[in-house]
Symmetry: C3
Subunit: 147 residues, 3 copies
Amino acid sequence: MQFQCKGIDYFIYIEKNEKVMSTLTQFCKDQNIKNAKISGIGAVKETGIGAYDTEKKEYFQNHFDDVWELVSYEGNVTLKDGEPFVHAHVILSNHEMKTVGGHLFETTVAAVGEFFLRKFSGDAYRELNEDIGLPCICLENKLESLL
Amino acid sequence: MQFQCKGIDYFIYIEKNEKVMSTLTQFCKDQNIKNAKISGIGAVKETGIGAYDTEKKEYFQNHFDDVWELVSYEGNVTLKDGEPFVHAHVILSNHEMKTVGGHLFETTVAAVGEFFLRKFSGDAYRELNEDIGLPCICLENKLESLL
Amino acid sequence: MQFQCKGIDYFIYIEKNEKVMSTLTQFCKDQNIKNAKISGIGAVKETGIGAYDTEKKEYFQNHFDDVWELVSYEGNVTLKDGEPFVHAHVILSNHEMKTVGGHLFETTVAAVGEFFLRKFSGDAYRELNEDIGLPCICLENKLESLL
């Protein structure tokens, strides 16, 4: 991987055959990034994406082994059990321009992986919400429904 | 909802059963945010999305009542009639990883709603453009086509 | 086109019948923007999108002449042969909410084109990578695989 940092903005290039989620997670640990917004594009392979079943309270996963364009990657970094945790959703497109999307488990760069990470100097963390069944984000200011 | 603010960046968590567009719009009013970029991911339900018919000059709308992953939310805040107005486009994915997309009317968080808002300290506003039939953005610097 | 600049953030409105890629590229040249992140939404027509064939090492292209919602535009600006170069991936949706996506060659605004550009004050550039067959991003800090 390669990166360049200017202030709180990081330009990140994940190289061919490197794993996206593991690389970004390790990068946040190494750089002491606790909270961030990440977005990017590229071309990927060996992709596991899924969705959360809100009734069964579990994720299921689908695999796409061949090369797809990564047409959208949008994610965030929060602390989970004290460590940086990356949560991202992606959209992929194939050679017929067909798209699939979902929660990203892992994917490997097939050609290029071009990302921007913007550090957020907060301390947002995740804590299990039993009603939802997922570790959910906890932020400083909690407001009753605004409506 | 919950939020944390650092400088001009807001990390926003919209909670289960809260409406996304109404919550973000009310938040901008309460925080005096006139212009911004918003992006996010999550899982949503009771979603109304549509498209603009450029010939009939009207939006039509489709409804997706069940739970979909919110795989991309990209929007902006401008002033319309002096009040903050959120314009957003989304892409949703279902349990078969199929995607649908469009202009977002409203959607409700089904599990989590994780957003970043970046304040833009300008005064961009919308004014009806009769040729297009929509309130269009007006910015400080207007240039002839650059090409 | 219209724009407003606050610090390193640009709010950009590309108007009906203006080309998106050419306009953004020319804007970067005029404003001396070498590196940036760009994202946006809108409604477009006469769109050329494609994908990279990693075996043949070439892009192929598909055309969508009619009006589609631009539901996601995510791109970056780097230097290629010393000039600003925009690389972007998009997702479009039609009146049935169907989505298509890919690498964006060019598209023309059909109604509105609403973009944010965030300048990155670096000097990232692209250089041909013969293994991949594409001009790939080169950044200041090069790390061995982090895993």
